[in-house]
């Protein structure tokens, strides 16, 4: 029973929007899924979630998809239909649209990062107070304490 699941599941791919990450060897969703669930179907050139029931609904695939081709349909064995939660993540903030089964909509925006992506200096300007490998002093201490 391999690779037959292409219907809706916790995270699912919208056929019209997915372009298989422009025919590269791997897709972004495949790169990021912490449970190795997203697969590129090389014949259809589309990604899909290979294991419905191993999906944590962590939204990593949803957030990273460059064409916003992935959504989540909540676990059907305990969530009624009609709820949708969809993020749009940028470099410093994330916007969420929460759509209720009763059609109400709430929108939220939260900060996610205060520094530019890629800019992290590990020592963060702190200095390390001891050279001694056997002392309890850790990197950037005691400055960072």
């Amino acid at each position: 029973m391999l690779f037959t699941k292409q219907d809706t599941m916790p995270s699912f791919v919208i056929n019209e929007k997915c372009d298989g990450c422009k025919a590269q060897d791997r897709t972004a969703c495949q790169y990021i899924c912490p449970n190795d669930l997203m697969v590129l179907d090389k014949d259809k050139n589309k990604a899909y979630n290979r294991a419905v029931d191993m999906c944590w609904e962590c939204y990593s695939c949803v957030k990273i998809c460059p064409t916003q081709a992935i959504e989540v349909r909540g676990y059907a064995d305990f969530m009624p239909l009609g709820g949708v939660v969809q993020p749009l993540r940028s470099t410093d903030s994330i916007m969420w649209a929460v759509k209720f089964r009763n059609k109400k909509v709430k929108r939220f925006k939260f900060p996610i990062r205060t520094t530019p992506e890629g800019s992290i200096e590990p020592d963060a300007g702190f200095s390390t107070g001891s050279e001694d490998l056997k002392s309890p002093v850790l990197r950037t201490e005691p400055d960072s304490l």
Partner: protein
């Protein structure tokens, strides 16, 4: 998190001393592990430099929450360094809630609120940038599943695993090995068994690799009996911390009774821990479970009452409206930052927290020493804090030479959470470099050992290849078993015999022995696991790891002849706490004899 902490720290010391650091991730570090989704709070921050708390106070709190069972030296070691990690996170770019004076906003005494959706991205970037400082001496591999330790005599000299992307078997030779592979989920049958199987509270991709690695290396393990049963919002398992601590919400039974008050007398039976504040997590569970057993469910988090109360404190109507909006945003962010499914569950049920309460309930048990569990390897504590018996040379080294553990992989240092795990990774990373300096050559690994390991690890692929042609259904074949059903079988055994959710977490000697008997069948069948592809090969090994976690758990629950953590599990044959079990229940599997040894150790 522990892996990122170790990479960050070890890189600094490795550079000074010309050592190499290699990090191997099962997935992609940016979103791997328990913090994949993000977090809405950092649950360990002391604020020592601001005079907020002391290390001693924290150690007391942890010892009390674990009903007396904790390594005070390990907890203190993490607590004295954790503020540094949190301050680094802030500098790196993690947005931490601040009040008007610019101080961190506390959720509770030890917890601070964060806008943590990108927590793992930020921390992993710091780790990778730290590795880059080493140039060629810093390496990062991803999508490689590490399955077995490599042992030469009594020393751990590396690890083996395989890529889940291409047909490559990997051997990593090392002077020191740090096991930071997370906790264990799906050992017990979960409450949702359809698609909802994926909605475990801790991630389904934490499958006991840490425990297996140290066990197989012959390391002494601790607290293998201490499972954690979280009580969270029902089914989607969203967090309750902000509701209880920040919004000061109450939980009640269906009649509106606060069972923490109506059943307070029970807490006296578990003194001194039950009578201290805050009440240990397992005892809070216990009182709730008693309600359910008497048919007083559903149990509700009174979110509506909490919000209304907070808004009612504000006399001005316009201000009150603004406050309501603010509380609503905070409530939804709490879920969206770390358990999006809970937001989805509310949306699917038309639940608005300010209008109606939400059900809370117990999950199935998990093994998570970074949180309110405690199970992991028995490790050496710091020389300046550990009593003689608890220190043997290098911080965080297991009883196996060269093998270190941190985060969920190390035991008896509960309540470290994300910041503490990262910090423990730092401690272990530095110590591992010190070990490398003192043991500065990589032993040779003979071809025979390597071939045997390769054959063992790839065996399920061979099994499938040899036998799948027999039947017309790849999953239904008398010659082998696929990992999915193997996992279900394990979960059923654990649930029914080792005190899972369906039996109210109750077990006894006859039940446990039966469970062990059935586990023995599983061990025999484990060599017949079959994998049709690399992903399935990973699932095979994940479930072998789970099986070993399960066995060490059952053996230790048997060993500890008392009930110390009602609410997590009950020994119906020994239903009370015993003074002579105010001790560690440790164990060790001997790789030579393949025998288990149970070891009782003093607390100190």
């Amino acid at each position: 998190m522990a892996a990122c902490g170790a990479a960050f720290e070890a890189s600094h010391w490795a550079k000074k001393h010309k050592q190499r650091v290699t990090v191997v991730d099962k997935a992609s570090m940016e979103r791997s592990g328990a913090v994949a989704m993000g977090l809405s709070a950092i649950n360990l921050y002391l604020g020592v430099s601001k005079g907020n708390n002391t290390v001693e106070d924290y150690v007391s709190y942890v010892k009390n929450d674990l009903m007396g069972i904790a390594r005070k030296d390990l907890v203190a070691n993490i607590a004295r360094h954790v503020d540094s990690s949190v301050h680094l996170f802030e500098k790196w770019g993690l947005p931490i809630w601040k009040d008007e004076e610019g101080n961190y906003v506390n959720e509770g005494r030890w917890q601070i609120m964060i806008h943590g959706e990108s927590y793992k991205n930020i921390v992993s970037e710091a780790a990778k940038n730290a590795l880059r400082e080493l140039g060629e001496d810093g390496s990062y591999y991803e999508r490689i599943f590490i399955t077995e330790p490599v042992m030469m005599e009594d020393r751990c000299v590396g690890a083996v695993g395989f890529s889940v992307r291409e047909n490559k078997f990997y051997l990593f030779k090392a002077k020191a090995v740090l096991d930071v592979m997370g906790g264990a989920v799906h050992i017990f049958r979960p409450k949702s068994v359809g698609e909802g199987l994926g909605r475990s509270w801790y991630p389904p991709f934490n499958s006991g690799a840490s425990t297996y690695f140290t066990l197989k290396a012959g390391a002494e393990m601790t607290c293998q009996e201490v499972r954690f049963v979280p009580v969270r919002f029902k089914d989607a398992y969203g967090p309750v911390g902000a509701w209880f601590l920040l919004f000061k919400s109450k939980a009640t039974n269906a009649k509106g009774e606060d069972y923490m008050e109506t059943r307070a007398a029970e807490l006296e039976n578990w003194a001194p821990y039950g009578t201290s504040k805050p009440t240990p997590a397992n005892l809070r569970n216990y009182l709730m479970l008693q309600e359910l057993e008497e048919g007083n469910g559903p149990i509700y988090m009174r979110t509506d009452e909490a919000i209304q109360k907070l808004v009612a404190e504000i006399p001005d109507e316009k201000e009150a409206k603004r406050k309501m909006k603010e509380l609503e945003s905070e409530a939804w962010e709490d879920f969206l930052d770390m358990t999006v499914s809970q937001a989805l569950n509310w949306a699917s049920h038309n639940i608005m927290p300010e209008e109606s309460p939400s059900e809370i309930s117990a999950c199935e048990p998990y093994f998570i020493s970074s949180h309110s569990g405690a199970s992991g390897a028995w490790i050496s504590g710091p020389q300046d804090l550990a009593p003689g018996e608890h220190h043997w040379g290098y911080d965080n080294m297991t009883t196996v030479k060269g093998l270190f553990a941190a985060g969920d992989a190390s035991g008896a240092s509960s309540h470290k959470f994300s910041s503490g795990s990262f910090t423990e990774g730092r401690i272990a990373g530095k110590a591992a470099i010190a070990f490398c300096m003192d043991n500065n050559h990589i032993p040779d690994i003979d071809e025979e050992t390597l071939s045997a390991l390769k054959e063992k690890v790839l065996q399920p692929l061979k099994m499938f290849e040899e036998h799948s042609g027999y039947a017309n259904d790849e999953d239904v074949n008398p010659n082998y078993i696929k990992p999915k059903m193997f996992m279900f079988r394990l979960q059923k055994i654990m649930d029914e015999y080792a005190g899972g959710a369906s039996v109210g977490f109750k077990t006894s000697e006859p039940l446990l022995n039966k469970g062990l008997e059935y586990l023995q069948f599983m061990k025999e069948d484990a060599v017949k696991l079959a994998a049709g592809d690399l992903n399935e090969l990973m699932r095979c090994w994940e479930n072998v790891h789970r099986m070993w976690q399960a066995e060490s758990h059952i053996r230790t629950v048997l060993f500890r002849k008392e009930t110390r953590w009602p609410g997590y599990y009950f020994r119906t044959d020994y239903p009370t706490m015993k003074e002579d079990w105010e001790a560690f229940a440790n164990c060790r599997w001997d790789p030579e004899t393949e025998e288990w040894e149970m070891i009782k150790r003093d607390l100190h």
